[in-house]
């Protein structure tokens, strides 16, 4: 077990779990989106840290350098970042509409209103 060699993964895990916790535990819809973003970003860090080669450099070919870091995870993460922002944009759009329709962005208040509505149906 190489603790020191894997410190980057530890950081990732802590970030990931914080984000995950925020998503599940908080009732405020916007906070949930933030947690989601933190969660996703930490996964990006995971991928990127796996691409690094010690003493390598950015994968832009140049005669001066021999050792490069792996470009494939970079490509994957670029796409993942885009997916992340798309999700965030949609999520926030929903929050705006929910706020307009329910007057609140707190999960418990929204659920209460729904129960009231169902009771009277």
């Amino acid at each position: 077990m190489n603790f020191l060699e894997q410190y980057n993964y530890w950081i990732v895990i802590i970030l990931m779990m914080s984000g995950f916790y925020i998503v599940i535990a908080h009732g405020n819809l916007i906070k949930k989106m933030i947690g989601l973003t933190v969660f996703q970003t930490s996964v990006f860090i995971l991928y990127i840290s796996m691409s690094k080669v010690t003493a390598g450099t950015a994968p832009i070919l140049n005669e001066a350098y021999k050792v490069y870091s792996n470009p494939l995870p970079h490509v994957l993460i670029l796409t993942a970042i885009v997916v992340g922002i798309a999700t965030t944009a949609l999520g926030l759009a929903l929050v705006v509409r929910i706020k307009e329709a329910y007057g609140s962005v707190e999960e418990d208040l929204i659920q209460e209103k729904d129960l009231q509505q169902e009771g009277s149906e």
Partner: protein, 299 residues
Amino acid sequence: MLMGVYSLLTASFFVLMDAVDVAFTEAAVGAGISTILMVTVLSMAGRFENRQLHHPRIALFVVLITGVMLVYGTFDMPAFGDLNAPVQTHVAPYYLQQSAQDIDIPNVVTSVLASYRGFDTFGEVVVVFTAVIGVLAMLEFSRKPDTTGDEPAPMYQHKILRIVGKILIPPIMLFALYVQFHGEYGPGGGFQAGVIFAAAIILHAMLFGVESTRKAVSMPVVKVLAAVGVLIYGSVGVVAMLNGGRFLEYNALAENPITGQHVGIIIIELGVGITVATAMMLIFLTFARRVGKANGDSA
């Protein structure tokens, strides 16, 4: 605001990890677009939350289990920076060694993104397009009357901001174009360029008001452009098929395969840039208008 800082920190981390393209994108997207959208929504929803946590113990339990699983998974992982890890010895070396011959551009990330795994990038553009459709479908038409009209933006009063901002907008756009076309040689490319270009427009909106920006930038045209970007990308693929190659096989686009690669890459990056720029613009402007109305009502 903290999100913006967090994003910039992440971006710096990426630079340290040699992931310059990614850092660029994360900075633009995370510190830029994401933060702007969050701030916009927060202005509507209020900055303070109800402090009660939702089943905190169950949440903690789930999070702990997940965390433990992940830690368990790290035990057999290759060491950080290891040259002989599987990811460094399989597939990746091909890109690093052969891309000069196959495609002949220095930025290997662009080679992989635009050519080797070009179809994933096509999917990415479609994701952006889907997000725009979603935001438009949800926020475009509000039943509230249009009260924003010709009010000047809050920032209009600050002369210095206004003048400096006005001067900055064209250079930002120019920079965006530079990033767009220089992406083969250095960090950059369609996506980053699109976001920067949109940032210029957003700056305009912040200074002069959403309505004036909407007049300057015609919304229906922008919507069509967003669709056109995707179609440009797709047509490169279709033309390749018509020329006898596979979908997105740039080698089939010209007599000389390398020329074909270059042509293919430039055009698809253009498609990406157009769709991303218009998408970010549309998303921001739609948000701003809707939230503006909601705030205008409650003011």
